[in-house]
């Protein structure tokens, strides 16, 4: 009886030892996760800078088009951007390319767009399929001027869904694994003066 008990104990010990070793191998390095968090946040900040360039009336057309291409590459296909106004309740949603075109064509002499306070409201969480999903909030300050007169001004709070997944590509015959940061829909959550 005792021998059987000790044998079971030995088997349990080995099982615990083995599973601990496997878990240690699969554990995600917190510094790596921090680097991925920071990479994703940087992509959102980049988008804010691209939007500023696209909206700027002094940006040449070919430059704005090039920047639109770069900005569009950040998004998952079919992603939408919410647009709000102090003048109306409803929020309109446009495909990102359409949003960029409308932004470039806004009827003001001067447009200033500034993104600030970019931060996670929902940290990147690893999903069962290995992808990370999180939500970042940004504040966008918009000003449209005609001549010397400020024609419209608002501040919008927007939530951006972010997906990060590991992909691989071939570079000069070598397989390179990389973290692909993809932005999803951008939803307006608040609009104020």
């Amino acid at each position: 009886m005792n021998r059987r008990y000790i044998q079971l104990l030995a088997i349990a010990f080995i099982a615990v030892f083995t599973s601990t070793a496997v878990m240690a191998q699969n554990a995600v390095d917190p510094n790596r996760e921090k680097a991925i968090d920071s990479l994703a946040l940087e992509k959102v900040k980049d988008l804010g800078k691209y939007i500023k360039i696209i909206g700027n009336k002094s940006t040449p057309y070919n430059e704005a088009t090039r920047v639109m291409d770069r900005a569009e590459e950040l998004f998952a296909p079919g992603s939408e951007m919410g647009v709000s106004s102090l003048a109306k309740e409803e929020i309109e949603y446009y495909k990102v390319r359409e949003y960029f075109r409308r932004l470039m064509a806004l009827n003001y002499d001067k447009v200033t767009i500034e993104w600030y306070d970019v931060h996670y409201i929902s940290d990147l969480e690893r999903q069962p399929d290995g992808r990370y999903v999180g939500v970042v909030t940004i504040y966008q300050k918009f000003e449209g001027t005609n001549g010397d007169k400020l024609a419209y001004k608002d501040t919008t709070k927007k939530d951006i869904t972010i997906y990060v997944e590991k992909k691989e590509t071939q570079i000069a015959g070598r397989t390179i694994e990389f973290w692909d940061v993809i932005l999803g829909d951008i939803r307006v959550s608040e609009t104020s003066i």
């Binding site: 000790i6 104990l9 991925i36 800078k49 920047v67 770069r70 570079i171 000069a172 390179i176 694994e177």
Partner: protein
Amino acid sequence: MLIQMNKSIKSLALFMVLVLVLASCKSKKALVDAQPEPEPMEEPAPTPEPEPEPEPEPRDVRSAPEATLDTRLNNYFAAIASASSNDVANRNIREALGLFSNGTAPVLIIIYAANGTEDYDEPTDITKYLNYIKDTGNNVHRVKEVVRDPSGKIKELVLVKK
């Protein structure tokens, strides 16, 4: 009863020792496997007729960047990021592109490295990367490695976060 228990404890101890011995054998085997095999003894061969040596084929050179090239690239990144105008930035981009075999030379960006593995951002090309610096004003990477073609132009660039 006590004797039987003692026997069981002894057999458990014996089992554990066996596990440890096996594990240590495995490590030793790994060590042995890692050692290079002894070179086979060569039989003395009759001296062959001297043949003209073939021209060495041009090969790509992968290396840590030379101090000057490293500095030049990092200076271009800084100049583009802080350019006072679009024209100044574009002029620096054109000059920097002159160091590369073409505008689509791949650029790899290491975002994290630990335990011999490296994590990369999505690979891009040098034209897009230089324009990225211009558009965002971000000068946050430094040159880690360059791969040059036979003419000495850069055909691949590896950057790392500063």
